[in-house]
């Protein structure tokens, strides 16, 4: 609800002269994937520059190139007009480029001072000068206004997330940073902490430090950034003054594909059956006030920003972090799951967003992965557990592999997802929870997954789909539920616009014509 007038007046967003950092024609590829292609970026001293794009658009790859984790395959980097090339993050740091990752790079069992000076501890003769280290750290903390709340000798593990972030910023400053990249800095912060962060950023801006601010949150982008750059599918889509773009334009640059991608037709509400899953006032430590009903044959899409609680909802339903308040019913009967076993036995299947660590045992075969849940929960006697049944399922999902004994780590992302799906087909699931169903799957295979999902629904299953890809949410969902700050923000009908969804998810009131 804030308008553009913020607490401090914005820095002049178009300073004259050369950019502090200029990237030209940057390209980077990995086996089978072209992450970046011909990307340009200009960052001026003293500005906060937003870097936006969907997941997989290439933002973090680009920043890893800038910070020295990767070397570009093409293009060059100019710092103060001179070409540079970094072979180790430490080199970039010493030239003043620092990146603060979403998952902080801090050692919880070491003190603030020890973390900041890791690898370059100040010395007095041969020995580490602990006193100097503490004093320098205190100065940095004072500079950031945190000198009284954080002591250099506190163990980092004892600090709150916001305080740890301050430590990361102090670390960046200690390198005489001129460019600080922040990756989703506000994902785990409360709003008061976000304000405190922004104040710090503005104060540091005034000293000439530039920030690259990676985020999805449009309201924050408006508050704190002067210019923005949007990437899509590894390419530059647009760049310019933040104030020159409307929300609609930004969103359309980010997601830009027309719905020319094929999506299967929506389900017909008249054919939807009884509610398979009903949640009434559900909540736990992570989420609250969840009221939801999903009917047989329906695909319900859950949209929302990172940190809005979508995965937590899935985990609550599946029994990983169960609900502690409210009531959940499965096909009419009230249930309480304390362990995924119970959810699986009751007919729920969960395809996690982190397929490789939560969905598959990578060095086990397709067959063993498929039958793991059946064997563990139901035992061998289940009909669907014979090898020929699995072979049929593999054909049904159009699995491309050299045989049921191939180890799943050799499969492509799309095929790995199919194996996970086969697992839940084998247990006879009635409710499927998909978390980012097509993440890490190339475009060609995505359509296959979507078709499978719709077929499942048409055959009577209920599907809950969590996705950060707006076209997917819009293309697949018979109903869209939006989450915001750990609870439901509202519901939208099938085929709603990206803007409407983003507006509800990001809490801006802009309604676009």
């Amino acid at each position: 609800m804030t308008d553009q007038a913020s607490i401090h007046s914005p820095i002049d967003p178009a300073p004259a002269g050369e950019p502090l950092l200029a990237l030209r024609g940057i390209g980077k590829s990995f086996p089978g994937v072209r992450a970046l292609h011909d990307v340009d970026l200009d960052v001026h001293a003293g500005e906060v520059h937003a870097l936006m794009g969907e997941n997989g658009a290439g933002k973090s790859t680009l920043m890893k190139v800038v910070s020295g984790v990767y070397q570009p395959d093409a293009g060059y980097i100019l710092l103060d007009g001179e070409p540079v090339s970094f072979h180790h993050p430490r080199e970039a740091q010493e030239r003043g480029i620092n990146i603060i990752h979403q998952e902080f790079n801090l050692l919880p069992d070491r003190t603030v001072a020890q973390n900041i000076f890791l690898g370059r501890e100040p010395k007095k003769g041969w020995l580490v000068d602990a006193r100097a280290m503490d004093e320098e750290t205190q100065k940095l903390l004072d500079y950031l206004g945190a000198g009284r709340s954080i002591s250099p000798r506190t163990l980092v593990g004892r600090l709150s997330v916001a305080q740890q972030q301050t430590v990361e910023i102090a670390k960046a400053l200690s390198f005489q940073s001129r460019i600080v990249v922040m990756d989703e800095p506000t994902a785990s912060l409360a709003s008061a902490e976000v304000d405190a962060l922004f104040e710090r950023v503005r104060a540091l801006q005034e000293t000439g430090i530039a920030f690259v601010y990676i985020s999805h949150r449009l309201d924050e982008i408006r508050k704190i950034t002067q210019r923005l750059t949007v990437l899509k599918d590894g390419e530059l889509v647009g760049t310019g003054l933040t104030s020159d773009f409307s929300t609609a334009q930004i969103v359309s640059m980010m997601v830009g594909r027309e719905l020319s991608d094929y999506y299967p037709p929506y389900g017909d509400p008249a054919t939807f059956g009884e509610p398979v899953l009903t949640i009434d006032g559900g909540g736990n430590d992570e989420i609250r006030d969840i009221d939801l009903a999903i009917r047989a044959g329906e695909i319900v899409g859950i949209a929302g920003l990172e940190g809005s609680g979508r995965t937590e909802l899935a985990r609550a339903i599946f029994g990983v972090d169960p609900f502690t308040r409210g009531e959940m019913s499965l096909q009419g009967a009230v249930v309480r799951f304390g362990h995924p076993r119970q959810a699986i036995g009751a007919g729920i299947g969960f395809l996690s967003e982190d397929r490789k660590s939560e969905g598959l045992v990578l060095n086990a075969s397709i067959l063993d992965n498929t039958l793991l849940a059946v064997r563990s929960v139901v035992g061998r006697s289940r009909a669907g557990s014979s090898r020929s049944a699995v072979a049929n399922e593999a054909r049904r999902v159009d699995l491309r592999a050299s045989g049921l004994h191939q180890e799943t780590r050799f499969l492509s992302g799309g095929n790995q997802q199919k194996v996970v799906l086969m697992k839940w087909l084998s247990t006879g699931s009635r409710l499927f929870i998909f978390d980012e169903p097509t993440r890490g799957i190339d475009v060609g295979a995505k359509a296959g997954i979507h078709e499978l999902m719709r077929n499942l629904a048409n055959a009577g299953a209920a599907i809950l789909m969590i996705s950060s890809e707006l076209p997917e949410v819009i293309g697949m969902s018979d109903r869209i539920v939006v989450m915001r700050r750990r609870t439901f923000a509202g519901e939208l009908p099938a085929g709603s616009s990206e803007d409407a969804i983003m507006a509800m998810a990001a809490q801006t009131d802009e309604v676009v014509a």
Partner: protein
């Protein structure tokens, strides 16, 4: 370019025969069989008597306890843990058996039953401490090793009491007679086969076994697939403890009662399992190769004896082999990752 197209074979052989399916893990562990075969050949060259059933069976009697232990340790290692207490449990078995049976053959069976029960409890304790209290299994079983060893020492007062009657010792010591074709067959070999078949069936052909592999391969994914990870791990500890007791029975028969009967066996069992292709982090391994690894180790010791190399050298060899075997495994892992 679709990543799917990168998979060279698009023919979908989903209906592979059962036989081929069973052969796979054995084929993967081929190196240990090659080594074993090579060792047997070499031993025979040094001592042509080796092919004589009498001589061969003496060798098998000596090897049987370690093979049994390897089978049990395999379960624990595949589930991603360690059991350092099995040797001490074997020792304790011998000591308690001698003391409780005290030469009275009538007591043999219920004492063995009681010992198996104790073993199960030890395994249960190992499992619960590791899963409920979160103590790393290395430490848990290390502590248990000290407890069991200490208990055995205390109970025997330094010099073991009692004696073992023939119907106990026969398992480790004697052979079944009048067996068609070969004449005699050591009971310990029969026990070893029984344990091997049972364990192989349990690990490779039951749902429980699949859960063990999943628990070691990716405990998180196993959890999300409904596996009760703590329960599975605990059960593996129980299995390894039971093999510890069985090995103790065999050892008591073969080498008699001594306060150090099972000393060092846990490390040898771990080496055997690793030789057989199991991965120390969990998720990979097979029963028959593990037991073959144990057999290979014993064959190696026998060979070193035959070559006139003093006992200590065999330790050197064991050390080099362990490091070498692991180096190869680590090397292969990294190659497949690249």
């Amino acid at each position: 370019m679709s990543a799917d197209a990168m998979i060279p074979v698009v023919e979908r052989r989903f209906d592979e025969s059962r036989g081929r399916q069973m052969l796979r893990p054995l084929v993967a562990a081929a190196p240990v069989f090659v080594v074993l075969f090579g060792l047997f050949i070499w031993i025979t060259i040094e001592n042509p008597n080796f092919t004589n059933p009498n001589v061969f069976f003496i060798f098998m009697r000596r090897a049987a306890p370690l093979m049994v232990l390897a089978a049990g340790q395999l379960f624990v290692i595949v589930s991603g843990e360690f059991d350092l207490s099995m040797g001490a449990l074997a020792t304790l078995t011998v000591i308690l058996a001698a003391s409780w049976i005290d030469g009275d053959p009538g007591r043999t069976w219920w004492v063995i039953a009681a010992l198996l029960l104790i073993g199960a409890l030890v395994g249960l304790a190992n499992g619960l401490i590791t899963t409920l209290l979160g103590v790393p299994s290395f430490i848990t079983t290390l502590g248990m090793l000290l407890i069991l060893d200490g208990f055995a020492l205390w109970w025997s007062g330094g010099t073991p009491k009692g004696s073992l009657p023939d119907n106990f010792r026969m398992w480790g010591r004697t052979s079944m007679q009048d067996v068609p074709l070969i004449g005699q067959l050591p009971y310990s070999v029969i026990v070893m086969w029984a344990v091997g078949i049972l364990c192989a069936w349990l690990l490779h052909f039951t749902s429980f076994g699949k859960q063990v592999f999943a628990t070691g391969g990716n405990p998180r994914a196993a959890f999300f697939s409904g596996v009760h990870v703590p329960r599975v791990r605990t059960f593996c500890f129980v299995i390894s403890a039971l093999t510890g007791v069985l090995a103790g029975v065999l050892l008591g028969g073969f080498s008699g009662v001594s306060p150090d009967a099972g000393g060092g066996y846990e490390f040898r069992a771990i080496s055997a399992v690793v030789l057989g292709g199991a991965v120390l982090g969990g998720g990979r391994g097979a029963v028959i190769p593990a037991m073959a690894g144990a057999l290979a180790l014993e064959a190696l010791f026998t060979l070193l004896n035959l070559l006139g190399l003093p006992n200590p050298i065999r330790d050197v060899f064991q050390g080099v082999i362990i490091i070498g075997a692991l180096g190869i495994v680590a090397f292969r892992e990294r190659k497949t990752r690249e």
